[in-house]
């Protein structure tokens, strides 16, 4: 693993970067919290006078919201903007000169910021758990292990999608539209917007055959104990398989994309 060292130091560097921009980071988290609070009250009103909806109790729904929030905090806007930013401002030309693989380097950076994002949002969730009574936390250690593995896979799948979306910027002059469209599709089909069980059947079927469900639906369902242990293991394998497929697609796309590059002077 001699080649890995340079990527590790990139990850550490990116971790330090996230710490340097902590104000922006905390404000972004606040934005996420606002959404979380609004959804919490909304679902509370929806569940008023009902014990169960689409297989979710109010307790499970609260847990689902928290887990979704946690997964959303990982691999934030910041990591996403960094990939497209490099392409749009032309600094990708410098990356081409470095003896690094672009994809691996970006992944290393993402993982670096992720460490901070994970710790901070983890602390926040623990605080929120104290504030909201009646969250169902899994008791079995096996479920916890599976959830952590599933979360790791979720990040890899999300990276795969985010990376390819970023590469689209080789063909466009702006990143907002592309990123917004990516977020809209991901939120709907991953289950971040609403648990997939609430969607019409044809959309559920569609979500099942696409990689997006690996981002939120699978880890959240594992956390809620909706799968039996062997089923959960199967889903995790599926997640990692998607991560690998998306990684290969990203690699292949990079080869085509890099030919599009036009760098103005410099």
């Amino acid at each position: 693993m001699k080649g890995a060292k340079k990527y590790v130091s990139m990850a550490v560097c990116s971790m330090q970067n996230s710490l340097a921009y902590r104000f922006s980071y905390i404000m972004n988290l606040t934005s996420g919290l606002i959404t979380l609070v609004s959804l919490f009250y909304l679902w509370k009103a929806v569940f008023r006078g009902r014990t169960e909806m689409a297989g979710f109790t109010w307790q499970e729904m609260q847990t689902y919201l928290l887990v979704t929030f946690f997964l959303g905090c990982l691999l934030s806007w910041y990591s996403e903007g960094r990939i497209s930013g490099k392409i749009l401002d032309g600094s990708v030309s410098l990356d081409l000169l470095k003896p690094l693989d672009f994809q691996k380097a970006r992944f290393a950076e993402t993982v670096g910021s992720l460490a901070i994002e994970g710790v901070v949002s983890g602390i926040m969730i623990t605080g929120l758990l104290g504030a909201t009574a009646g969250i169902s936390v899994p008791h079995s250690p096996l479920v916890w292990v599976q959830f952590l593995m599933s979360t790791a896979a979720s990040v890899m799948v999300k990276f795969g999608i985010v990376y390819m979306t970023g590469l689209i910027c080789f063909w466009t002059t702006g990143s907002f539209g592309v990123v917004w469209a990516r977020i809209a599709v991901t939120n709907l089909l991953s289950g971040a917007l609403v648990p997939l069980a609430f969607l019409p059947e044809w959309l559920q079927k569609l979500a099942e055959v696409l990689p997006f469900q690996a981002i939120v639906h699978v880890p959240a369902s594992i956390f809620l104990g909706k799968y039996s242990a062997p089923d959960a293991a199967g889903m995790i394998v599926l997640q990692f398989a998607w991560a690998a497929v998306l990684w290969m697609c990203g690699k292949w796309m990079w080869k085509g994309a890099v030919r599009q590059i036009t760098v103005h002077g410099g």
Binding site: Y21, F23, S24, Y25, M27, N28, T30, S31, I34, T35, V37, S38, Y41, L42, K44, A45, V46, R50, M53, A54, W171, T172, T173, G174, F176, G177, V178, V179, W180, A181, I183, A184, V185, N187, L188, L193, V194, F198, L199, P200, L203
Partner: protein, 267 residues
């Protein structure tokens, strides 16, 4: 400086049409932005539909009423993007010293800033949002008299004014914030999440916050209460124009305060 509204409007139009022409040079980007805005808004409609497929109403508010509120947030956002995207460029103007250019010209710097950019995503938001509003209004019985038409127009205009004022005011945080992200205005923008649904579902603190501190409720909820005749809340709706004046006064105040702190970059 003498205020000349006609000349102001004329100049605004000249500025913004130049921007639109510039944007249309890049057709692919134009379409991506429009489509992405439509997708984002559509996703919210899917959410509302998914919820209302299981329950008939939330706190006494029906599907079309919530759709109306939701669409109001997006239409005003769209108008803000299409015609006043410049508010979102404040950070760059301040940090790069580009504000100097505006301050030196014999035209109101606020006007120049408002007209300095165009967000074509606004077009997508306005189109889908207006369609949603039209459909939702057809699903409720409203007796249109001269008075209701007048008030509807006033409330909708106030809604747009409030929205732009919130964008403008929150983006003026650029004068204090030297970092390179729009984090503060984005967080304020996100407060709008509370106004996509009837504020009756939230705690009193939140209700007060989105009515008084950051008056997003006057963009969507109160106009909806007026139009759909939710008696308990209708009387507050009449404060809409006042809220618009208040929002602009605060935003302009923040801008003036910030401007006093502004130091050029010196090039």
């Amino acid at each position: 400086m003498r205020v000349r509204p006609i000349r102001g409007l004329y100049l605004y139009w000249r500025f913004i049409s130049t921007q639109i022409k510039a944007i249309l040079e890049y057709q692919a980007d134009f379409w991506i932005l429009v489509v992405s805005a439509v997708l984002t808004q559509l996703m919210g409609v899917v959410f509302i539909a998914a919820v209302f497929a299981r329950i008939p109403s939330i706190d006494g508010w029906g599907f079309w009423e919530v759709c109306f509120m939701y669409a109001m947030i997006y239409v005003t956002e769209g108008i803000g993007s299409l015609f006043f995207e410049g508010t979102w460029r404040m950070l760059r103007y301040v940090n790069m010293g580009e504000l100097d250019r505006f301050l030196l010209r014999p035209v109101s710097p606020v006007l120049q800033m408002l007209a300095s950019a165009v967000g074509m995503n606004g077009l997508g938001n306005i189109t889908l949002g207006c369609a949603l509003i039209a459909v939702s209004l057809r699903h409720v019985r409203i007796e249109w008299t001269a008075l209701t038409v007048f008030w509807t127009a006033v409330l909708l205009l106030s809604a747009v004014a409030i929205r732009v004022a919130i964008n403008f005011g929150s983006n003026c945080s650029a004068f204090w914030n030297k970092s390179s992200g729009n984090a503060v205005p984005l967080a304020v923008h996100n407060v709008g999440e509370f106004a996509k649904f009837p504020i009756t579902v939230f705690s009193h603190g939140v209700q007060l916050f989105v009515s008084v501190a950051v008056p997003f409720a006057f963009v969507s909820f109160y106009p909806a209460a007026y139009l759909f005749g939710h008696e308990d809340w209708t009387r507050y709706a009449y404060f809409g124009p006042l809220a618009a004046v208040y929002a602009w006064a605060v935003a302009y105040g923040i801008y003036r305060m910030g401007l006093r702190r502004y130091e050029s970059t010196g090039n």
